[in-house]
């Protein structure tokens, strides 16, 4: 168990939902300060694997190590407390609420005044605006509702939130799926920026070209099994696509 190299190791993970074998004996790991591309077709098991890692589901079999220690999550909160932050496809933002209120939802800053815990609106506004500015997101005012933001801006707020709360591991679930080319590029820049800051990133996507430009390694899932694992230099994007299409690693050995 080389706790120093690997931030996350998942070993022999299996999960069934009723009669469906969602994952079968999957090994998956992410090194420190590494961008891991998790790719595969719909229903390959990417989401299930991530949901196990983030405490949404419990695995039927297998072990999870985080920073070298074996962990077992009973809720998403326990995973988050360890520094695993997820940016979900639906972003977990609430359109009618302000950017600040979204940013701090569930982690509001409060100040004790007598018996009361008062939210510190001004401080939260400043921190949210500052955190977003730092990663290059311009918002007019942090008390604007999220509803007025574009898809890319929302994505930025969600990523900015995850980065701010000191995540060691940032999980991005299809972060570029609904974005324009320009906005996608910005998200890819965030990924590199996060890595620069020392975070590890799991990047889940269909879009091999997006992930290829930023990832250091790739794990390819198919029908709940890991079919291949590569470092970037070992394969071209076209070869990855071919593997996903054919369902097995034809020419390259399993990693």
């Amino acid at each position: 168990m080389s706790g120093d190299d690997f931030l996350v190791r998942m070993e022999g993970i299996s999960k069934r939902f009723g009669t469906v074998q969602a994952l079968k004996d999957v090994d998956f790991d992410v090194k420190r300060q590494e961008v891991m591309g998790l790719v595969g077709d719909n229903g390959a098991g990417k989401s299930t694997l991530i949901k196990i890692l983030t405490g949404v589901h419990k695995p039927d079999e297998g072990k999870i190590y985080f920073e070298g220690r074996e962990v077992s999550f009973n809720s998403p909160k326990e995973a988050r407390d360890l520094g695993i932050e997820t940016v979900y496809q639906d972003l977990a933002l609430i359109p009618l609420m302000s950017i600040t209120r979204n940013f701090f939802l569930g982690r509001e800053l409060v100040r004790k005044v007598g018996p009361l815990n008062l939210m510190e609106h001004r401080r939260m506004d400043e921190i949210a605006a500052g955190a977003l500015r730092e990663i290059g997101v311009k918002v007019r005012s942090p008390d604007e509702p999220v509803a007025i933001l574009s898809g890319g801006e929302r994505q930025s707020v969600a990523i900015g939130r995850a980065m701010h709360f000191g995540a060691k591991l940032l999980i991005l679930d299809e972060p570029t799926a609904a974005l324009s080319i320009k906005e996608s590029q910005k998200v890819l820049d965030f990924v590199l920026e996060a890595k620069e800051r020392g975070l590890s990133i799991i990047f889940i996507t269909h879009n091999i070209y997006h992930v290829y430009s930023v990832a250091d390694r790739f794990t390819i899932l198919e029908h709940g099994r890991k079919v291949a694992e590569f470092a970037k230099g070992e394969v071209s994007p076209e070869e990855i696509i071919e593997i996903i299409r054919s369902g097995h690693a034809a020419r390259k050995g399993e990693g």
Binding site: D90, L96, R101, L105, G106, I148
Partner: protein
């Protein structure tokens, strides 16, 4: 420079949920001032406040619940149950404070039952609370045999609840104001308020971020019911009697007032100031029409029109504000 400040202030104001109801309130107020001769007198305004306060306490509770994404059709029956318990315990000679606490406890229990049923069964609150409304109304009718309960005594507690302290102005005005202030404080200044908006505005996102949305909903069902119970006790303190149909139809009036006040039926959006203005507007229409010489039958029709117009305008305003 100055125009940008004015623009800034204007854009801030128009983004408030209660902007629409505020304008409507002013327009109708000015209208009645001309149409009804005695509308602008102290006693007439006090009369409006008395009606609005009792409705408003219920409206505030239902608004709090609607922001969390649920609603409650049983508040009229809860108001009846609480008033009835207060009246029966008073006539039986129990201290009024005991009667009051029992009434509020009963309301809380009904709210808890509503809330737990809604989150456990996932049956929409419309159905659960409709059933609850019929159930508790039936219980009141069965227990009283359909006869009103009267009480001839008096106490400082009854005065504190709804005594007259200046002309036609009653203590209920303070209770109403207090409830609005406390709930405004909770919604805007506490973490719980943040969770309430999140629970109604995006339950899945809220749950993902670790908000216990079921607990928030159940708590808000209880708050809504307790406030309906409080309104029932306050109304008993005014009339010194409760008849078995007390509160019937009030739930719809309260929901109407909340919606007129800018609160969204779909949850996640609304304000207590809106609830306050909504309830005042309904109270004003009720008194104003009578004073203007319109047959009282027209009251419902007029409220119906106001409700529809207000909802349409509120939706437009929100789209405008979100640009």
């Amino acid at each position: 420079m100055e125009t940008t400040i004015v623009k800034d202030v204007l854009s801030k104001i128009r983004k408030r949920p209660e902007f629409g109801v505020f304008v409507a309130f002013l327009v109708i107020f000015i209208g009645f001032s001309f149409a009804a001769e005695r509308f602008l007198t102290f006693d007439s305004i006090a009369g409006i406040i008395t009606v609005a306060a009792e409705l408003g306490i219920v409206t505030a509770g239902i608004t709090f619940l609607m922001i969390a994404g649920e609603f409650d059709l049983s508040v009229g029956s809860v108001l009846g149950v609480s008033g009835m318990i207060f009246a029966i315990t008073a006539t039986a000679g129990l201290p009024h404070i005991v009667g009051l606490l029992l009434s509020l406890a009963a309301a809380a229990a009904i709210g808890l039952l509503n809330g737990v049923l809604v989150v456990r069964t996932r049956v929409p609150s419309f159905i659960i609370t409709l059933g609850s409304q019929m159930l508790w109304r039936g219980v009141i009718l069965a227990v009283t045999g359909g006869f009103p309960v009267r009480y001839w005594g008096d106490s400082t507690l009854l005065f504190a609840l709804n005594g007259r302290f200046a002309g036609q102005l009653r203590m209920s005005a303070f209770w109403f104001l207090g409830v609005v202030m406390v709930l405004t404080f909770i919604l805007t200044r506490t973490r719980y308020g943040n969770w309430v908006f999140a629970t109604g505005g995006g339950p899945e996102a809220a749950r993902t971020l670790g908000i216990r949305i079921h607990r928030v909903k159940v708590v808000n069902f209880v708050v809504s019911a307790v406030l309906a119970g409080l309104a029932g006790c306050i109304q008993f303190a005014r009339f010194h009697s409760v008849d078995p149909t007390r509160g019937q139809g009030l739930e719809l009036e309260a929901i109407a007032a909340a919606v007129i006040g800018g609160t969204l039926m779909t949850g996640g959006y609304g304000s207590m100031i809106g609830a306050l203005l909504g309830a005042l507007l309904v109270g004003m229409v009720r008194s104003g029409l009578v004073m203007a010489g319109a047959p009282s039958y027209w009251y419902q029709a007029f409220i119906g029109i106001v409700l529809i117009v207000a909802s349409v305008v509120n939706i437009r305003l929100r789209r405008w504000a979100l640009r």
